[in-house]
Amino acid sequence: MRVSRSPLRRAIPVAAVALTAMLGLAACSGGDAAVPGADPTASSAASSLDEVYKNAVVAEAADILPDSTMAKIKERGKLIVGEALDAPLLSQQDPSNPDDVEGFDADLAKLLAIYILGEPNVEIIPPASETREALLQNGTVDVVFNTYTITEERAAQVSFAGPYLESGLAVAVKSDNDDIKGIEDLAGKTVIVGANTPAVTAVPEEQPTATLVSFATDPQAMQALKQGRGDAYVQDFTLLASNAASDDSIKVVGQPFTTEAYGIGLKHDDDDFKTFINDWLVKIQEDGTWAKVWDATLGAAVESETPDAPKIGSVPGS
């Protein structure tokens, strides 16, 4: 008995070792906060954007000034981007396929990587809204694509290329609420906003008597609205429109009441890099790439014409 050990008993330690190794590997790949090399072909919206990626504009060698930020990025071989992983339509990670991050911000970040490197080699570092300035200042990320509203206070800390997208805040209510028709009806009401969104400051400016309740994420705010923790939910119009499209129990009322100009955040006073990115924005606007990306992402959620791209440098702080 002792001499002939059953094959099963020998197999168990082997299997255990193999399993441990597999778990170890999985832990390594899962534990990495940065999401490496987003592959555009993996994206489901890619079918419509394949062409865009294939024909994406690449910077001429002369544009990559020696010793500039873009030269450093090119040498490193990847663009490090601060962008969200949980923003529907803008930058949303597919939970079952972590390499697949799609949305307007995510696609533009990949196109910028192509412009500098010739390939969509992007490393994503998800910023919290409260850490974007610090991440740029200490050089953790090269650029921030994060619905980063251009303000003069922020422009004193970081630089903004763009604006590359304009949107506005709108009001959503429960479908059975006919009393609130827009921001003008929110005086004295309880208003739900996303923490760290422009709504936190914009709503008190319009309606000083409204009480604000802020929630960390859009799904939480939606849930709170439906459960009656507030009378209305103020958020970016595009995001609300896509929420309302997928959920009958809420509706968007009135027109957007602010204009938010979103910029690409850069390290402060890096004028060469800012000019370089602004040139790229003009190029993708002129060749129609910008409009195609908008149609494939944000345009999929709202029934409206493709808007005109915002004019570069058109807001204070950009």
Binding site: S129, E130, T131, R132, E133, A134, T151, E153, R154, A156, Q157, V158, A195, N196, V200, T201, V213, S214, F215, A216, Q220, Q223, A224, Q227, G228, R229
Partner: protein, 214 residues
């Protein structure tokens, strides 16, 4: 520094919310925790089991999960409480588990002989617990309970995630306008440190006052 002066009003109100939540949840968790500890050392199997299950549940489920469940799942079950009271209730129940464990560690300092003596004198279970065991356990557990209270104060910051305007949430809001995260969050951190220091030093003083010289 101007940015703190300009928004001193909302910041102080938010600090007040943090302190009130910490104090109310602190007192609540001391009461609930003592009851749980008493149940855990009682000779009644059902009570012991229930207290064991309570402690295991709250020690093993992250506080943020509990908060989000209480804020977003309870309304679906028909219980819609305002945000701050919900948070205080969850904090109380959560920290009570840790308080109970701290007290239980103090129970070991009470000699078996004392319990046997109280029984010989005809004390009931309730009398033994409330007159002999718990007073001594609490005295021995002052420092660990102080640590639980410090953790509780830090944990109030999680309330920002569910919409309560306390110190962290106010710092977030200020930063949204001023865009100076390092300055603002360092300042907020120093305030939390100060709160922790106050609790820690108080615990030290109380311990010296109530210590039993053996």
């Amino acid at each position: 520094m101007d940015i703190f002066v300009d928004s001193a009003g909302p910041l102080l109100a938010a600090l007040g919310t943090t302190v009130v939540m910490a104090v109310v949840a602190g007192i609540g968790s001391l009461i609930v925790g003592t009851l749980i500890a008493a149940a855990r050392i009682s000779p009644i199997p059902v009570l012991r089991g229930a207290a064991f299950a309570y402690v295991q549940f709250f020690v093993n489920v992250p506080l943020l999960v509990l908060l989000i469940l209480a804020v977003f799942a309870l309304p679906d079950a028909g219980i819609l409480m305002p945000l701050a009271p919900t948070t205080v209730v969850v904090l109380t129940l959560y920290e009570a588990a840790y308080v109970a464990e701290a007290i239980r560690s103090g129970v070991n300092t009470v000699g078996n002989g004392q319990i046997e003596a109280s029984r010989a004198l005809g004390f009931t279970l309730g009398q033994t617990l409330s007159l002999v065991v718990l007073p001594q356990s609490l005295r021995a557990a002052v420092q660990p309970i102080g640590n639980v209270m410090i953790a509780l104060t830090m944990n109030t910051a999680l309330a920002a995630a569910v919409g309560v305007v306390e110190l962290t949430s106010a710092a977030n809001k200020l930063n949204l306008v001023e865009a100076q995260p390092i300055l603002i969050f360092t300042a907020a951190g120093l305030v939390y440190m100060l709160l922790a220091l106050i609790i820690g030093l108080s615990a030290g003083r109380i311990e010296r006052k109530v210590a039993i010289v053996r």
